[in-house]
Every structure is written in structure tokens, then in C-alpha cells.
């Protein structure tokens, strides 16, 4: 539903005011612990239950899945309403809607290509927060190289028998379902053709998870093991051998194609304004750090880079200005964005002076240690979803036409 033209602008303005009012009355009080910046930081039951309750509240108040079909728990409304709700929620820095794999990737995939049974079974639970979803793509020995995955799925009557292991399973220990990529045909001529895609339950016998402690000290990922795990054959999505294609479509959602996503704030982002906020009262060499010429030059460099990221979203819409290296902006979005944030967050620590040594849990840590943790967590974006180095290979080969390794 993209029929914006038919919507009265006063209706949209009224709606926006309604969202703002709702946020004012419903934004949760400080829970006494540092809330996650992304869904990859849900490391305890306490955090999980807080976020589940919040997402349920957002959905039951009509501000999540607004453009999804009504019969599956959605609002059946034009997408613009969800965009407005998300904008205002972001602005107010409300907690995230944590069921991101479901809301942003599995959900849109099921809506776009799923059967009626799949829609009926899965969509509503994604929205309510009851059914947490995780993703089983990466494997211990095949991080960025999905084509090489080894987890096997073998058909046996009405079931598939799964063997192998997955890694970096976000919320694997809490999830009810997994989007799973597994090899059904090890003899396939092209290795991509041997893969199949499953909407797998996580509670089947033979599936176990083991939490991974991150460099931040928090939890949030698991390694997931399949030992003769039997799942119903109807968990296969599409046909056997179509797994690669479906996985690539899922990665499109993951890499930012927003159409179809249920919405909800998925990340508490930081922008340069946030960086300037923490620098405001800090001193260096006996004077306010904001008067230090080196600091000023560094901050402006970051501001230029941030501005270029925003502006690129507008230039990419003008084909005449992207003619000589087509796709360069589109394919470099992840690399430019994630690397910018990594460096910007790293720099944020130098703006804290001696306080940069403090960490989450210390009462004097700047903004509760948010920036220390955010910097380290940022590596999940420069490593996950294809490392920056893989991204540079992709751009070099597909945009510039440089030869493969």
C-alpha cells in the first residue's frame, strides 16, 4: 500500500500529533539498566521481558505492522503512517522493537512469497513479540561465504533431519523460530543449487544453543547445534534447491530495502548531534574541548562525512548523476555507513577525556557507558552481513570491474 497521494496532508499531520501524544504518555521510565542499542544486545531475561512488553504495547496501540494485512495482525494502512510513527519514535529515542529478524526480514519474506498457511501461522506472533525469530545463515567456518554452508537437511518421510551448526544466532536462546539455510543436495553441480530454506521451529529435539559472550562482556548471540534434529517437512519454504535465491532476497531486506518491513525502531542510532552533546561540557588542556582547534577540525571532518551519507540518499535517485559508475552509491551504502559510525564512535571516546576509561555499570560513566559499548558493538555491523573487506571486494569487482582474487 503506497497510495500516498490519496491521503490528506491534514490527516497525516493529525496522525503525527497523535503519535507524539502517545509517546509522551507511554514512553517507559528508566528501567535502571542500560537498554540495548540494537537487537543484538539482548543478553538477559530481564532485558528481554522489558522489550517484549514494550513491543507488545507499540503493536497493540496500533503503531507496528501498520501496513501489514489486517487478517494477520497488521493495520492494513498505507505505509506512510508507519513511516511517520517510526520517525517520531526515533526522535523520542524510545526503546527498540526488538524482534527485528521477524519484523524486518522473515515477515516481509513471508508476506511477499509465503503460503497462506505460513502467513496464518507466523505473522501475528512476529508483531506481538510472542514469537521471537532468529536467523541461521552463518556457520562457524563460513562467515561471509554463504555459498559454502555445510549444515545438512535430509528428507525422511514427512520430516527433514538437520545436522550441523550455525553461529552468530541473535537471540538464538530465546527464539521460537529460525530462518534456516541448509544443504539438501550435496551433489548439486553448482553449490548454490543444493541449498534450501526453512522456517524452522527452535524447540525441536536435537536443537541446542550455547550463548556467546561478546567483546562488550554482554550476551546476545548463540552458537546453535543441530544433532539429528527432526522438523516437519512443511517447514521448507518454496522448493528444495531454491534456498540460495530466497536467502538473497532475505539479505535484501537485511541490507536496507525497507519495503514490506513491519516498521518499529530497530536501532537507537547516534548522529553527530549526540557526539556534540557529550563534548559540550568536557575540558581539554584547561579549556572547553569545543575550543580546541584539533578537535574542531576532527569534528568537522565527521560532519562532512555524515552529511555526505545523508546527501547520497538523494543523489542516488538521479540516474544522470550516477551514470559513470552505476550502483556505486547503492552498493557502498553499508560500507560507508558502518565504517563511519565505527570511527565516529571510536572518536567519541576521546571526547570524554579521562572518563573514557569508565564502562557500563560505573555510576560516573558518560551516559551510562553507552558510547564505550556502542563503539565495540559497532563491529557487528562492519563484520556482520558481509565484512567491510568483503564489501570492498564486491564494490571493486561489481562497480569498478576489478578482477577477483
Amino acid at each position: 500500500m503506497n497510495d500516498h497521494a490519496a491521503i490528506d496532508s491534514t490527516e497525516l499531520a493529525d496522525f503525527r500529533r497523535g503519535v507524539i501524544d502517545w509517546i509522551k504518555n507511554n514512553i517507559p521510565a528508566d528501567p535502571g539498566f542500560l537498554l540495548p542499542q540494537t537487537f543484538m544486545e539482548v543478553g538477559s531475561e530481564q532485558v528481554l521481558e522489558f522489550l517484549r512488553e514494550w513491543q507488545h504495547k507499540v503493536w497493540s496501540s496500533g503503531f507496528l505492522g501498520m501496513a501489514w494485512p489486517k487478517q494477520y495482525g497488521g493495520g492494513g494502512m498505507p505505509r506512510i503512517f508507519q513511516q511517520i510513527a517510526d520517525e517520531e519514535m526515533k526522535r523520542a529515542r524510545v526503546p527498540i522493537c526488538f524482534n527485528v529478524i521477524g519484523l524486518g526480514w522473515a515477515g516481509p519474506l513471508i508476506i511477499d512469497t509465503g503460503t497462506d498457511f505460513e502467513k496464518e501461522t507466523y505473522l501475528k506472533g512476529i508483531l506481538t513479540g510472542e514469537d521471537i525469530w532468529c536467523q541461521g545463515f552463518s556457520e562457524p567456518n563460513h562467515g561471509s561465504d554463504l555459498g559454502s554452508i555445510q549444515t545438512r537437511a535430509e528428507r525422511d518421510g514427512d520430516e527433514y533431519i538437520i545436522n550441523g551448526s550455525k553461529i552468530w544466532t541473535t537471540m538464538g536462546n530465546y527464539a521460537k523460530y529460525m530462518i534456516l539455510l541448509a544443504r539438501t543436495d550435496s551433489q548439486a553441480e553448482r553449490r548454490y543449487n543444493g541449498l534450501s530454506f526453512f522456517l524452522s521451529p527452535m524447540n525441536a529435539a536435537g536443537i541446542t544453543t550455547s550463548p556467546i559472550q561478546k567483546l562488550t562482556g554482554d550476551y546476545g548471540f548463540t552458537e546453535t547445534f543441530f544433532t539429528d534434529a527432526r522438523i516437519p517437512a512443511r517447514c521448507l519454504m518454496g522448493e528444495e534447491g531454491h534456498g540460495w535465491r530466497i536467502a538473497m532476497q532475505t539479505l535484501q531486506y537485511e541490507r536496507g530495502a525497507e519495503a514490506g518491513a513491519a516498521g518499529g525502531v530497530s536501532i537507537l542510532s547516534t548522529v553527530m548531534n549526540d557526539l556534540l552533546r557529550i563534548a559540550k561540557d568536557v575540558e581539554r588542556d584547561g579549556q572547553p574541548i569545543m575550543q580546541d582547534p584539533v578537535t574542531r577540525d576532527n569534528l568537522v571532518k565527521f560532519l562532512i562525512e555524515e552529511q555526505a551519507l545523508y546527501l547520497a540518499e538523494n543523489r542516488v535517485k538521479i540516474p544522470a548523476l550516477c551514470a559513470d559508475y552505476p550502483n556505486s552509491l547503492a552498493l557502498s551504502t553499508k560500507l560507508r555507513g558502518t565504517e563511519f559510525f565505527r570511527r565516529m564512535r571510536q572518536y567519541s571516546l576521546t571526547l570524554q577525556g579521562a572518563s573514557s576509561a569508565l564502562y557500563v555499570g560505573d555510576e560516573d560513566a558518560v551516559e551510562g557507558g553507552f558510547w564505550q559499548r556502542a563503539y565495540m558493538n559497532n563491529f557487528s555491523t562492519t563484520i556482520g552481513g558481509g565484512t567491510s573487506q568483503i564489501q570492498a571486494n564486491i564494490i571493486g569487482e561489481h562497480v569498478l570491474g576489478l578482477p577477483k582474487d
Binding site: V271, M272, N273, L276, M290, P293, R296, D297, L299, V300, K301, L303, I304, E305, E306, Q307, A308, Y310, L311, A312, N314, R315, I318, A320, L321, D324, Y325, S328, L329, S332, L335, R336, Q389, A392, N393, I395, G396, E397, V399, L400, G401, L402, P403, K404, D405
Partner: protein
């Protein structure tokens, strides 16, 4: 405030057509052998190519219709100048375009009527601003003294672009503590007034010019010269940025060409990530510069430059100069031994990078002023 309020980039079909024809014209008239043939020439440009550019209406593109222009605004020159940079096509176009902007913005009706029609037809104007190496200087030691009904200039200007071919100059001078832009015709200069300089970028031409003793009438003082000078400098920075962006893309093309043909240890060298990844970085830096120049081109109109336009121009110059410095430097390195030779085109780009760096303010200068606009 940490950024411009206006993030728009607009590009009309008309501008897209200009870009297409500019690309084709520059490619056809300025391949590297044509560029190299002009390196040791006196004027640095091919007068036939200049005449064709005039005939195509490029010199009038940002001039008012009543003076023979097509009144498309300074933004319409950005695709032209980017294409010139892409093919190292050097002419007095940039000098003349900046000078025309000073007259459009700061000249009286009579001054516009006197100078602009000729500029549409290809007469060449240039700015004479620098007393010394400092593009950030706001004053000048060049003086303008009343002498009866007329005025007399005293002082030298450094690195005046295209001075030898200029029909006239806009000279920054100090008149009783007030800044003036003074129009001086080439014919008014003394015999030895123009002293040619040896430039790192052999596609460019500049000279030191001694204006001492030149006598001008009151009509030669641009009525709002001092007022529009900051805007003219910003437009100058933007045009240099557009040219540098095109040149960074040319350096990238040259690097990609070499990396996809040159073999070492049995492999195309572009397959090595130590070369591949920095080449992608050149692309990203060039892309970012291109984004800024067209954003600035979108914001600037014929009126005084607003805060957003100033931010956009300064970001464009800072980014484009950095992008080209990086691209030129890596272009030399990635060509190995060939890159160390005069025959390798990387030489053209690394030299242009050094020239572009300081024209109308280097990146540090612009970032320093951006800090005041964005942080305080």
C-alpha cells in the same frame, strides 16, 4: 545545528542534456594526447576549442538573457566544469565564470551592460585577489588612491589565473580602509606588468601581475564588489571543487584501467586486495565529492548565498580537494615504476591535485570556517 537544513539535490532534464553534451565534447576534444600537446604551449589552451565552447553557449550559460546568456544559473556550469576536470580540458572558463559572477552579483546595470555581453561571446576576465600565499586573507595591501576624478592602483597580485590571456582583471584593492573590486583592462597594464609563473600543474597558467600606476575611472569600481566578494569566493571554491571531482574520476579511470590490464606474479594486479581496496576508497571519496558539488549547485541561485549554500560550497571544496589528493597520490603509486615517469598520466592528476588544493582555500581553511558555522 550540525548540517544544512536543505538536503536536496535537483537535476533537471535540461541539466542532464548539458552534462551529456559536455561529456561528449570534452572527451572528443581533450584526450590525453591533446592535453599533453598543450603542456608546453604558451597559453595552455587550444583557441579553436575555446571558440567552440563559446559557440555552444557555455560562456553565457550563467549570464542573464538580456546580455546574451541563457540564464540557467551558476549551478548549470557544474556539469560543464566537472566534465572539463574529467578530461583535463583547461581553458579560461573557470576564471571567466567566476569573474562574470562577480559582475552579475556586484556590478551596476551599466557595468553589467558594459562587460557581460562580451563575456558571453568569449572575452576573458579573471580575478586578481592574492597579495601573498594566503587564500584566507580578508584584506589586501594593494591600494586604490583618489587622484582628481580618477583613481590610481598601487600593488602586485600573485598567481592571477590566465593573466596572460585575460581581457580584463577584477583587482581586489583597499580604498581608505574599504575593499573594492576594480576592473582593469589588459591594455592598461605596463609592458612588464605580467610575470609568468612556473606551475606544478602544466595544464594551468598563472602570473604575478603588477597593477602599480594603473589609473581607472569611478566606473571601474564594482559598485557592490566588497559586499559580494565572500559569495564570489565561495562560488570559486565550488567551481574548483567540480573540476577536482572530475579529475579524481579521471584518476580513478586510469587506475582501474591499469589494474585490469597489468599482470605481476601471473595475476592481474587488480586482484590484489592491497590495491583493490584503496581503489574502492578513491571511488567512495570521489562519489562523496560529486554528491556535494551537485548539492551546492542545487542550493545556489542568483541571490546572496545563504547559510546552507555556504556550508555546501565549503564542504564541496574540502571534500573534492581531499579526494583528488588521495586519488592522484595513489594513481602514481599503483602504476609502480611507470607511475614514476612523465609518460604516465598519473603525473597529470597528482600535479592537478596540488594546484586544486589551495585554489580558493584549502580543506583546512574551509573546515575551520565550517567549524564556526556548525559547532558554535
Amino acid at each position: 545545528m550540525t548540517r544544512t537544513a536543505n538536503l536536496s539535490i535537483a537535476f533537471s532534464e535540461e541539466q542532464a542534456m548539458i552534462l551529456d553534451s559536455a561529456k561528449a565534447f570534452c572527451r572528443d576534444n581533450s584526450d590525453t594526447s591533446a592535453v599533453r600537446a598543450l603542456l608546453k604551449s604558451e597559453t595552455g589552451f587550444n583557441p579553436e576549442v575555446w571558440s567552440q565552447m563559446v559557440a555552444l553557449g557555455w560562456t553565457g550559460i550563467a549570464l542573464p538573457e538580456q546580455y546574451g546568456g541563457s540564464e540557467m544559473g551558476i549551478g548549470a556550469t557544474i556539469p560543464l566544469v566537472e566534465s572539463m576536470g574529467r578530461h583535463m580540458l583547461s581553458t579560461p572558463f573557470i576564471s571567466s565564470t567566476i569573474t562574470a559572477q562577480a559582475i552579475i552579483r556586484g556590478g551596476s546595470v551599466a557595468q553589467q551592460a558594459k562587460w557581460l555581453p562580451g563575456m558571453a561571446e568569449g572575452s576573458i576576465g579573471t580575478m586578481a585577489l592574492l597579495d601573498n600565499e594566503d587564500w584566507g586573507a580578508t584584506g589586501t595591501s594593494c591600494t586604490l588612491t583618489a587622484n582628481g576624478d580618477s583613481f590610481e592602483l598601487h600593488g602586485k597580485k600573485l598567481l592571477v589565473n590566465d593573466a596572460a590571456v585575460a581581457d580584463f582583471f577584477l583587482v581586489l584593492a583597499n580604498h581608505d580602509g574599504a575593499l573594492k573590486l576594480v576592473i582593469v583592462e589588459a591594455t592598461q597594464l605596463g609592458a612588464d606588468a605580467i610575470k609568468h609563473k612556473t606551475l606544478v600543474d602544466e595544464t594551468k597558467r598563472a602570473a604575478n601581475v603588477d597593477f602599480s600606476g594603473v589609473s581607472v575611472s569611478a566606473e571601474a569600481l564594482l559598485v557592490n564588489g566588497a559586499k559580494v566578494l565572500p559569495d564570489v569566493r565561495l562560488i570559486g571554491a565550488l567551481l574548483i571543487a567540480a573540476e577536482a571531482t572530475g579529475c579524481a574520476a579521471a584518476a580513478l579511470d586510469t587506475v582501474v584501467d591499469y589494474l585490469t590490464t597489468r599482470k605481476q606474479f601471473g595475476r592481474l594486479i587488480g586482484s590484489y586486495q592491497s590495491l583493490k581496496h584503496p581503489t574502492v576508497e578513491i571511488l567512495i571519496q570521489m562519489d562523496s565529492a560529486r554528491t556535494f558539488i551537485y548539492h551546492a549547485a542545487t542550493l545556489i541561485d542568483d541571490g546572496p548565498l545563504d547559510n546552507d549554500s555556504e556550508i555546501a560550497c565549503r564542504m564541496a571544496k574540502a571534500q573534492a580537494a581531499e579526494a583528488l589528493s588521495f586519488a592522484g597520490d595513489r594513481a602514481v603509486q599503483f602504476h609502480g615504476g611507470m607511475g614514476f615517469t612523465y609518460d604516465c598520466d598519473a603525473m597529470l592528476y597528482i600535479r592537478r591535485a596540488q594546484w586544486s588544493q589551495h585554489q580558493y582555500g584549502d580543506p583546512q581553511h574551509h573546515r575551520k570556517l565550517l567549524a564556526g558555522l556548525l559547532l558554535d
